[in-house]
Subunit: 675 residues, 2 copies
């Protein structure tokens, strides 16, 4: 091919590319309401302003890359001593929960046993992640995750402690100044003061930016007056310190006044704070949930957390940073349940055989094992990454991955909880056994810390945005870069185009560095290579679908919630497979105890999830023959209009329809057609 | 083709057939334990002894046929007056439940309001299916199903009434003699006496034949002495009349004494009957569940139900006959929930939009609508068939279909219940709203009246047996039949063989009579033909998979529970699609109110279910590349052996593994390999 034809090719490619990609570049410019739904000022900024910052697994995935640094090496503790210390702590916690905590009783009475609360304080569990200089245990994310495995024995305690430290006091850790930290953290760390997080309001659940609570600054600028009602506040009945979010008037650069959210540290003793009656709930019944009302509560100006008007960002940072922990707490609980349920299955006999010999029961045990392994792998991979600070001492932004862990583990808790109850049969339905309580407790996980619906949209929209921004960058380079940059960008775009457009596979699947035969990159144990190839195949199809769907919908993809949901599901699956692979690979290479057992679990998990992804990926093709979008839209429109089920009852018409004139007419018509 | 070659072909075909089918013919000879699991002496007899008897939808399906009589015409009531009367009754019931029944209160207090019980009696709801001559309402199955839609407003009442009449007194209806009917039915019909069904024991749940309760006949042959403990007996605390199953010694034809189950009508006043404390349960809390103990309870000989030793068959007949009703009661409840949840979604605003405008919420509403439509369609199709008596006045055996309806609707109740709660978000988790109670109530549906696990095996094993028996019959005809019979049988077998073996589709898909272009058979509305073709394609693949798997496993298929489960899932899907098609076809042909809305629902349901079946059918291929049988077996064996989760903890080894000697060794090895 001569120089001329090459030039034509490039210029044609450029032209195609422009036509092809132009439509979806505006995808990065979301509507204001969508932006709020993203719940992630944080992540968005990273995408749009600093491409230098190391991208996360999910953002890399969106750009069609597999971040090998996340997969290998699978994170671990630094020293043997760290491990020993951590094991001691978690053993102490485990012992306390098995000996001192009567969850059945606390659930029945919908209250905590005061002795239990004292015990938690003694173990330092009110300050696990507060630095040691402020009297806390100063645990890293990985260590915290490990301790939570034991705490999760009791759902209500888990929620109470999370409300206290994962969200209640987290704002002070993240955005508090030195004075605020010194004033509040020591007594919060001991549990002398208990914290709560006050964001949700009657008209503002998932949509956190729409709160109505308001704070107005006194004329002397020294005190804010807080007014408004917060609902479903965990620990709301007794919390001493509350992180409260309220609308405040902020002067913009152009002098305009605008309502913006500000975060405040509010002490109950400030006055004007009243709590409602505790809510009666399906589960986590011992935990306290109630409304908190602020009526002219005076808050000193120095109790503003971060900047005035910067509260929304703080709220999202707090929520984003805490979600990862659901993975290990669910895995811990499910591991205990697996043990008791297997005990039951191996002792109960029906039809002359132990339950555990029934294939249909074994399948439940197997499925639960795979889910535990995946939740555990994802949780520690994410926690481990969060523990790696950059040169400025900042943790990376793992908000998308944390959301994935939260979605996956909450759904595992719910489905496995139900299956455990099912293995027990009628016995499981009775309050004599703990399974029904565990199932009730698990149900909240799908709702709080961001509903799984909103989080799925968050995961998918963040990834779409990043994919769009990356393409925009490449196009820009192809137009304006220097010689080499330009050439690379053009060839990249061309390859992208060819891959996406070609239905036949005349270009080989990419290896993404996971199974490539380069010694430096091949970190995979031989027995893991096949699994690696499955992940790569999924990643390859995933990126093709991103491009196809961005091209199809352009910026309107933000309104295609079912498409976004499917993307999120696939991405979560890929993240889970990668975590499982990374962990099992480590186990195999180091010949860890039971590593062959792990290999079976990892292989099966990846096989099943790969297959699941194939079905999901197929549904993103256009046209997809089983698409029901049109039917769904029309059916829902009608139901939403009338607000009820609209089909006529099956018994509504009594004629035997062979005798019905319309039917006879129909028959006649068919006869005529055939003549 | 000359006569000679035709003969060779036939004899070769015969030889292939023999080799091919011989292995799985013994499938009909199940082990004793498997036979019990079938829970269906009833259905099994039909298969093995009387092929003349009209087969049911499921048995036809097993033999590779689509029973058009079930699909068209979709059943309905006889006259306008019937409909009017039924609507009056169900309106009365609906009004009663909405005005007089405080389910929240009864749930909280775990007790029925006596005024409610009186109201139920006044409406005759204790005797809905008892013939009018005995003081009942004498409702047909279809009518009963309709009334249950309203009763299901309260889960606990539904269960109490079902325990009374669907199982408690059903034995007297089915197997009682004239004296027994006259003595008991009138007072049971008014609710003066309340009935219970006493089968389950501590060591005998799903395995009903293994009960330990024993009855011994007095020397004068006039009285049985009953001893044993029954558990989880609904209404057990106050029931006046109990159908009790106990082991009795029966003399076999050969003079041997054998333990066989006998059913007794036991009055509480006979003495020696004590009830345990009410169980504290997850849901249906107002209903009474407790143990019932019999200590030397004297039962007059005339209170034996049916024959001595015939009790197991009666128990199974009772259970099999009642299950269909779960379909309409679930559909009724879900219809009401759809209305309230849509009301919420159209009033709650988040992110500046009504919840009902979110695609992800609409999808939940749509999915729920499809499930309601399917459950309703299956329930009334089954009830309608059960109302068609044969020339002897006997109802057909619809036990497989009833089990399918039970499985489908219980799972719809559970998943939709959870989604409704999810749409409400945090609000749904609170006891202020009814959703958490409905979810708790729904959970029992997956367990009682036969766990869905056992019922899936029952469905699949029954179908496999029938398929095996049919083939045996054909092979016999091919060997011993007269000329024409023999020829037909041989050609049938040959066609079967060709279809199953040929991977390419050189034989066209069969029409099964649903979409065939014969005027007399084309009962389908034009707009339904595509849906019909999808069902036919599923049926065609289904029969091929039956033959392939029977060939592969032979009689050992009974131990392949996951294969059986998959067969059951596909069969349930086909049954649901057929019911939906039949119902919607009627609606379209008669231009019923909202029939176009129904058409959208039916089309989408069939498309989605067809696709789901494709995935399930693929997993029955051999080899199936994503099969995890081996992994599952080995992982479960290890877990069951140790009774706990076995993987080493992700943090267990602290070495950073790039520095680990084993890893370095691994690297070295790879280097060597490449050189």
């Amino acid at each position: 091919m001569g120089l001329y034809s090459l030039n034509v090719l490039v210029s044609n490619t450029m032209r195609y590319q422009r036509l092809y990609f132009q439509q979806f570049i505006p995808a990065v410019a979301l509507q204001a309401s969508q932006r709020q739904m993203l719940l992630q000022s944080n992540a968005r900024e990273t995408v749009l302003t600093s491409h230098q910052r190391s991208a996360s697994f999910a953002r890399d995935l969106a750009a069609g890359k597999l971040n090998m640094k996340w997969i290998c090496p699978y994170p671990t503790l630094k020293t043997e001593d760290d491990l020993k210390e951590l094991n001691q702590l978690s053993d102490t916690v485990a012992k306390f929960f098995s000996e001192k905590v009567d969850s059945t009783k606390m659930d029945r009475e919908a209250n905590f046993d005061p002795a239990v609360i004292e015990g938690l304080k003694d173990m330092g569990l009110f300050g696990t992640q507060i630095p040691e200089e402020y009297g806390g245990l100063g645990l890293s994310n990985v260590q915290y995750a490990r301790v939570l495995e034991e705490v999760s024995t009791d759902g209500a305690i888990t929620v109470m402690l999370a409300a206290h430290q994962a969200i209640g006091l987290k704002g002070i850790l993240i955005a508090g100044n030195k004075e605020q930290k010194e004033k509040y953290l020591p007594r919060l760390a001991t549990g002398e003061w208990i914290a709560a997080f006050c964001l949700t309001e009657p008209s503002s659940g998932s949509d956190a930016a729409s709160i109505q609570t308001r704070a107005t600054l006194s004329e002397d600028g020294k005190t804010w007056l807080l007014n408004g009602e917060k609902i479903w506040i965990t620990n709301g009945g007794f919390a001493d310190i509350m992180t409260v979010f309220a609308k405040t008037q902020v002067e913009e650069a152009n002098g305009e006044l605008k309502d913006k959210v500000t975060a405040f540290i509010v002490e109950r003793t400030f006055g004007g704070v009243t709590s409602g009656n505790p809510e009666d709930k399906l589960g986590i019944r011992a935990s306290n949930t109630c409304s908190v009302n602020f009526e002219n509560t005076p808050v000193p100006a120095e109790n503003v957390l971060g900047e005035v008007g910067g509260g929304f960002k703080i709220a999202m940072k707090i929520l984003n940073s805490g979600r990862f922990s659901m993975g290990s707490s669910v895995a811990g609980q499910l591991k205990r349940m697996l043990a008791t349920v297997t005990e039951h299955a191996t002792t109960r006999t029906q039809f002359g055989r132990k339950l555990s010999e029934f294939g249909i029961i074994q399948d439940k045990i197997f499925d639960m094992t795979l889910k535990i392994y995946a939740a555990e792998s994802m949780a520690y991979m994410t926690a481990g990454q969060m523990d790696i600070l950059d040169e400025n001492g900042d943790p990376p932004d793992c908000s998308i991955e944390a959301a994935m862990v939260k979605i996956y583990s909450s759904e595992a808790a719910w489905s496995c909880g139900s299956e455990c109850l099912q293995i027990l049969g009628g016995l499981g339905y009775m309050k004599d056994m703990p399974y029904e309580r565990m199932l009730r407790d698990a149900r909240i996980l799908l709702i709080f810390e961001g509903t799984n619906e909103i989080l799925r949209l968050y995961v998918a929209l963040s990834m779409m945005q990043y994919a769009g921004a990356k393409l925009q960058q490449r196009l820009k380079l192809a137009k304006q870069g220097d010689g080499r940059e330009r050439w690379t960008a053009i060839m990249d775009l061309f390859r992208e185009y060819m891959r996406v457009e070609s239905s036949t596979k005349f270009l080989p699947n990419r290896s993404f560095g996971l199974t490539a035969p380069h010694a430096t990159k091949t970190w995979l144990h031989d027995s893991m290579v096949n699994s690696g190839k499955m992940i790569e195949a999924n990643v390859d199809s995933f990126r093709k679908r991103i491009y196809l769907n961005l091209r199809k919908y352009g910026k309107k993809i933000q309104d295609e919630q079912l498409v976004l949901k499917t993307f999120a599901d696939i991405a979560i699956n890929i993240y889970a497979m990668s975590a499982v692979l990374g962990r099992c690979n480590k186990a195999k290479i180091l010949s860890l105890r039971n590593c062959d057992h792990e290999k079976l679990i990892a292989t099966a998990f990846i096989k099943k999830t790969y297959k699941e992804n194939l079905v999901l990926l197929e549904s993103l093709l256009d046209p997809y023959p089983f698409d029901c979008k049109e039917e769904s839209k029309r059916v829902c429109d009608a139901i939403i209009e009338e607000r009820r089920y609209l089909c006529s009852h099956p018994l509504e018409v009594v004629h035997r329809y062979q005798e019905h004139p319309k039917y006879l007419e129909h028959l006649e018509r068919i006869k005529l057609l055939r003549e």
